[in-house]
Symmetry: C2
Subunit: 345 residues, 2 copies
DNA sequence: CCTGAAATTTTACGCGCGTAAAATTTTAAT
DNA sequence: ATTAAAATTTTACGCGCGTAAAATTTCAGG
């Protein structure tokens, strides 16, 4: 039933729907802000003539653009791809227009992304900073102007809140499991890991090991960047050949590192698993989407993507709705990880 | 040396740089369109006062927004994440502002993305359609208004060109390799696979097998959606238990399916590889970023991400530069795949 | 039918910039 | 120094919409 006359401006569209432009304008900002009967008339006209307001003219003068920025450090990492997907969906459902930026692991690009985002006058932002490598002042400047919630990777004093995993709990849980079910684990982690969670993971590992009366043993993997599988593989080969591990059990700092390490163990002819014929137990952390399908399937700690995404979006929308009180205290929300026992350890 | 006075409009910025607003406006559209001396003065002022033009006011009246849309079917798939990353980089280098959309495997979202993109008046678009499930008219309407290049997945008559892998060549190469080095392969593919490449892959498999004097044998994996590892795993378990494969060699339609199949073989206690103690040879297709790290590492056919990305961007920028001749013939560019022999087959 | 509140319309202005055309200046050459 | 071409400035207008304030209409309830 689409009419053929092209509607180009809101003025014209208001005319064919028999309303005034300001009313239509109000509708497009919030469909519930007009009378139901008026809304029906507009949506009727909307079906007959597919008109869309010019987004540039719209956002030029709006106080609230209702766009939300999502910045992740590395979208080619399936973890961030998944969480970005969840967050995107939730933002749309909450009536916002999400825009995803990936920093591709580069601090300069992260700063660029924040500037581009700032230029879009977003209503708010959900940020997972690069961490150690981040340009702190870029993040600080940004979050001073835009209501921001950090997720996955925390940075002191930036943004109005942080939502993430309780590394202390999650590492504690898997270390305890590994100790209970066999030999105590060494901890295998990237030396130059960009992610700030690394420090708290290391601390949690050390603390739990001591609590259980074991000597902590950390093996660092050299290598820069976000190519964790490669780093885990190369350092794994080296460490296995050098017999760097005092026990048969290795806890990797994250699943991608573990995937690389599993490949190294395979290459070295070492069978991984809990069974009798196995030489090595390997565990990961994060429960990446593909960890179910490694050989053997990876024992790990899962983070609840949905919970983290939902809480982040909830905090942000709340913040946006009463942004009067932007001086409230910075909130930190930590979720527990869940032990996922598969065949690898 | 940043001055503290806030410059908000181009008028003000033109004043402090001692130029007129139209000249500055010209600079921001194309930095090379002004005299070097003038350009230097602007960039000088740019360092002293960090001014950025209001993107909304800018794009409202510009003929060319210099934004490029990139639409991929599923960004959580590492293949698309990688290629999107490459394309993004190339677009930036070519002086455009890329914006990435993911359809998350849903045709409705794909159509939505195209509408959102259209509202941004992009200078051009690089599209990887969902394929079989795509809303054809949505794509058709879009590409009628925006210069578009398709990549990875082709759709007849849509866009000004297509860039992708020559499935016929790549499948031919790996089938030939598998036949030469052992028993001829069965083909393992999703029955409801959304990707349009599936048909040409099947055809290439059948044809090559017949050429070599072998009987083609296709095993379909049931399952909807983009969770290929799960589909490969579940269908793999079933097919292995039912002894559906006449030979010891299986060629999977893509690497993610192969990853799931490898997990199934592991679960069934079947050793995969070329060696004597191995029960099964498994190969994939696409060379996903993680295929190097499966156990055993996956034999597959690699596509040159960089070449595909570069050619796509090159075609599009050419198209944009002389868009007068938009009536030119639709071009198809196919790259050869390269056999990547690893331990799995 | 009356009344007050809520929704809508009218009116008017401005946002920050693009762009066209004419006037002026600068540049590079003769 | 002269001159034509190129770059820049001036001037002027418009883009499509947001938004505020005042005037008017619609609505629900009595």
């Amino acid at each position: 039933m689409m009419s053929d006359t092209k509607i180009k401006t809101m003025e014209e569209f208001a005319a064919v729907s028999g309303l005034s432009r300001p009313t239509v304008s109000k509708y497009f900002f919030d469909a519930n802000s007009v009378r139901p009967k008026t809304r029906a008339r507009i949506e009727d006209a909307l079906e007959r003539y597919d008109y869309r307001p010019n987004i540039y003219a719209m956002n030029q003068n709006r106080r609230l653009t209702r766009t939300l920025g999502i910045v992740v450090p590395f979208l080619a990492d399936p973890f961030f791809a998944e969480i970005a997907r969840n967050i995107e969906r939730l933002c749309i459902d909450a009536g916002f227009r999400p825009i995803v930026f990936s920093s591709h692991g580069e601090p300069e690009l992260e700063a660029d992304n924040l500037k581009s985002l700032l230029a879009m006058k977003p209503s708010g932002a959900l940020l997972a900073p690069l961490g150690r490598l981040s340009d702190r002042s870029a993040l600080s400047n940004f979050s001073a102007e835009v209501p921001s919630i950090l997720f996955d990777s925390n940075m002191d004093g930036i943004g109005e809140g942080f939502v993430g995993l309780d590394n202390s709990q999650s590492i504690g849980a898997i270390v305890r499991y590994l100790c209970d079910s066999g030999q105590p684990p060494s901890f295998f982690e990237g030396r130059m890991a960009p992610n700030p969670n690394v420090q708290s993971k290391l601390a949690a590992y050390t603390q739990t090991m001591k609590q259980l009366g074991h000597e902590p043993h950390i093996v660092y993997a050299d290598g820069e960047g976000w190519d964790f599988e490669s780093i885990g593989y190369n350092a794994g080969i080296r460490a296995l050949q050098a017999r760097d591990f005092p026990t048969n059990t290795i806890l990797c700092g994250n699943d991608r590192l573990a995937v690389g390490f599993l490949a190294a163990a395979y290459e070295e002819g070492l069978r991984v698993g809990r069974g009798d014929g196995c030489a090595l137990r390997v565990a990961g952390h994060d429960d990446h989407p593909f960890s179910r399908f490694t050989c053997p399937p990876l024992t790990t700690v899962s983070q609840d993507f949905n919970a983290i995404a939902a809480k982040s979006v909830e905090l942000l929308t709340e913040l946006i709705d009463h942004d009067s009180q932007r001086q409230t205290e910075r909130t930190t929300t930590l979720f527990d990880g869940t032990l996922v026992i598969r065949a690898s350890a």
